[in-house]
C-alpha cells in the first residue's frame, strides 16, 4: 500500500480566524438550551406514559428462560452462542476497545477533519462496508444456526449427505468429522500447568478449532478481506479510508448482533421471528 511520505506538522491547536467566529452567547448557548429543553420534555413525556419495568422479586431458584443481559450487552450475549465464552464476552470487546483507543495514533493525517465524511471516498466506503457487514453478519448467524443448510435442503432439495454435514455450522466441524482420539488431548507442556487454580493441561484440538480458531479467523479475516477488496477497487487509499470501513463494519455488526439478541432470540436462545418471541417469566401479562 503506498503511503505518501510527507513531513507532518507538529500537532498544535489550530489558529483562530476571528472573522469566522460567532459569539457563544447567544448563538451556542441558545442551541444548547433548546436541545436540553427538547430532551427534558421528551424524557418527561416518555416517563409519564411508559413505566420502567419491575418484575417479581429476585429469586435465585427461578431461572427465567430466556435470561438476558441488559440490551447493550446482548450483542456480546449473541456472540457467546457462536464461540468460546471468554473469547466472545471478554477478549473481543477488550481487544476492540483497545484498538479503537489507538485509532488516532494509527491515522494521524489531518485530511478531512472537522467535516462529515470529509475525504474523497468516505461516503462510498461507509455505505458499502455497512451493507457488506449487515448481510455478512446475518449470513453468518443463519449459517451457524444451521438455517442455511436447512434452506438449501428444504428449498432446493440439496443435501450434502452425511459426508458434508460438518459444514452445517461451525461446531459441526467438531462433531461431524472423524477426529482421531489423540487430537482431543494434546498436552500443552511436558508438565501440568495450573494458573490461578485453573488447569492448562491438554489442548482439545477440535474444540479449540470451532470455539476459537474459526471464529477468530472470521472476525479478523473477513474485515481484512473487505478492506483489501475496497483497496483493490481503488476506494480505500489512506489509513483513514481503512478505518472508515472497519469502524462502519464494527458498528453495523454490533447493531445486527444487538437486534438479533434482543428481538430474535427466544426460549433457550432459539432463533425465531420477533413476533414469535417468548418473553421471560415474571413479566406481568406474559405468562
Amino acid at each position: 500500500m503506498a503511503t505518501a511520505v510527507v513531513a507532518r506538522p507538529v500537532a498544535r491547536p489550530q489558529e483562530r480566524a476571528r472573522d469566522e467566529e460567532v459569539l457563544v452567547w447567544p448563538d451556542l448557548v441558545f442551541v444548547e438550551f433548546i436541545s436540553a429543553m427538547v430532551f427534558t420534555l421528551t424524557i418527561f413525556l416518555l416517563s409519564a406514559i411508559i413505566n420502567a419495568p419491575l418484575l417479581d422479586e429476585a429469586n435465585a431458584d427461578v431461572t427465567p428462560n430466556p435470561s438476558k443481559a441488559p440490551w447493550y450487552f446482548l450483542n456480546l450475549q449473541e456472540l457467546l452462542l457462536h464461540m468460546d465464552k471468554g473469547l466472545a464476552g471478554v477478549i473481543v470487546p477488550a481487544v476492540w476497545l483497545g484498538l479503537m483507543a489507538i485509532f488516532p495514533y494509527f491515522d494521524t493525517d489531518n485530511e478531512g477533519q472537522g467535516v462529515w465524511f470529509g475525504t474523497e471516498n468516505a461516503v462510498k466506503i461507509t455505505v458499502v462496508s455497512g451493507i457488506i457487514s449487515f448481510v455478512g453478519t446475518w449470513l453468518l448467524i443463519l449459517w451457524d444456526n444451521g438455517n442455511i443448510a436447512q434452506y438449501l435442503n428444504g428449498w432446493f432439495g440439496l443435501s450434502g449427505g452425511d459426508s458434508l454435514r460438518f459444514l452445517e455450522n461451525a461446531r459441526a466441524f467438531q462433531s461431524q468429522l472423524p477426529w482421531p482420539e489423540w487430537s482431543t488431548h494434546i498436552p500443552y507442556l511436558w508438565f501440568d500447568l495450573t494458573l490461578l487454580d485453573q488447569p492448562f493441561h491438554h489442548l482439545n484440538f477440535p474444540a479449540w478449532l470451532v470455539e476459537q480458531a474459526i471464529p477468530v479467523a472470521f472476525m479478523v479475516g473477513l474485515p481484512t478481506i473487505m478492506v483489501y477488496v475496497l483497496w483493490r477497487v481503488g476506494w480505500v487509499r489512506t489509513r483513514r479510508d481503512a478505518l472508515l470501513s472497519i469502524f462502519t463494519g464494527f458498528v453495523v455488526t454490533m447493531g445486527v448482533l444487538t437486534i438479533v439478541g434482543t428481538a430474535f432470540r427466544s426460549e433457550s436462545e432459539e432463533l425465531v421471528w420477533p413476533w414469535q418471541l417468548k418473553l421471560s417469566e415474571g413479566i406481568p401479562g406474559q405468562e
Binding site: 452567547w25 436541545s35 436540553a36 411508559i50 429476585a58 438476558k68 466472545a88 488516532p104 470529509g118 490461578l196
Partner: protein, 250 residues
C-alpha cells in the same frame, strides 16, 4: 444598523433597568443582562457554568448538523441522572431485604416516585445511546485526528464508564430482570481466560449474585463510577478547549 437617536426612556426601559442593572443583580452576575457583544462575552467568561465554553466559536460548529449536540446531551443526561438519582437515594436501601420493597414503595407511595424512577431509567438508556452516537459523530467527522488524539482516548474511557454505570444500576431494583441480567453479565466476565473467575468473584463479592454484590454495585453506581466519570468528563471538556475548540478543516 440605524443610527441611534437619544429618546426619552419608556416605562419598559425603566423596568428593564431596575431589573437587570440593580446592585443585587450585578453582585450575582457581574454584568447586566447580556445584550451587547461585550457583556455577552463577559457573561460566558465569568459565569462558572458558562465558562466551560470559549467566548467565541467557529461558525460551522453552531450548526446543529455538525454535532447534533450529542456530546452536550450526553452530559445533560448525566446531570439529569444525578438529580433523579439523588432523589431515588432518599428512599432506596441497598439490602436484599429492602431493595425490592423500596422500589415498590417508590412506585406506589412516594409522591412522583414512579415518575422519578421512570425518568432515571429512560435517561440511563438515552445516555448509552447518545454516547454511542456521539462517538460515531466524532469518528465520521474525523475529529480524533491531531491534536485531539488523546481526547478520543479519554472518550473511549468515558464510553466504558457509561456502560458500567448503566450496568451497575441494572441490579439495584433486585427483581428477576435485574438479578438474571447481572447473573448473565457477570458470567460473561467470569468466562475470561485465567483472570475470569477471580474478576467475577471480585465484582460480586462472592460466587453468585447476592447481598455482597448488591452493596458493591450500589457503591460503584452511586459514588465510585460517577466520580470517575465526572473526573474524566472534566478532562474531556478541558481538552476540547486546550485543543483549540472543535475540529475543523485545515
Amino acid at each position: 444598523m440605524a443610527v441611534e437617536t437619544p429618546t426619552k426612556p419608556t416605562i419598559a426601559d425603566k423596568i428593564y433597568d431596575k431589573m437587570f442593572h440593580n446592585y443585587v443583580w450585578k453582585s450575582i452576575f457581574r454584568t447586566g443582562y447580556p445584550n451587547t457583544p461585550r457583556n455577552q462575552m463577559l457573561v460566558v467568561a465569568t459565569n462558572v457554568f458558562l465558562h466551560l465554553h470559549p467566548t467565541r466559536i467557529h461558525r460551522t460548529h453552531v450548526k446543529i448538523t455538525h454535532t447534533y449536540c450529542l456530546g452536550g446531551l450526553t452530559f445533560f443526561m448525566f446531570l439529569g441522572l444525578t438529580v433523579t438519582g439523588i432523589l431515588l437515594m432518599f428512599y432506596y436501601v441497598p439490602s436484599v431485604e429492602r431493595a425490592y420493597l423500596d422500589i415498590q414503595n417508590i412506585e406506589t407511595t412516594v409522591q412522583f416516585g414512579q415518575l422519578m424512577r421512570n425518568m432515571h431509567r429512560w435517561m440511563a438508556h438515552a445516555m448509552v445511546i447518545l454516547v454511542f452516537l456521539h462517538m460515531m459523530r466524532v469518528f465520521y467527522t474525523g475529529a480524533y485526528k491531531p491534536p485531539r488524539e488523546f481526547n478520543w482516548v479519554v472518550g473511549v474511557i468515558l464510553l466504558v464508564l457509561t456502560f458500567l454505570l448503566s450496568f451497575t444500576g441494572y441490579l439495584l431494583p433486585w427483581d428477576q430482570l435485574a438479578f438474571w441480567a447481572i447473573t448473565v453479565g457477570t458470567n460473561i466476565a467470569g468466562a475470561a481466560p485465567v483472570l475470569g473467575p477471580k474478576t467475577k468473584f471480585w465484582l460480586l463479592g462472592g460466587f453468585e449474585v447476592g447481598p455482597d454484590a448488591l452493596i458493591r454495585f450500589y457503591t460503584l453506581h452511586v459514588i465510585g463510577l460517577p466520580l470517575l466519570a465526572a473526573i474524566f468528563m472534566a478532562v474531556h471538556f478541558w481538552r476540547i478547549r486546550r485543543d483549540g475548540g472543535l475540529a475543523r478543516p485545515l
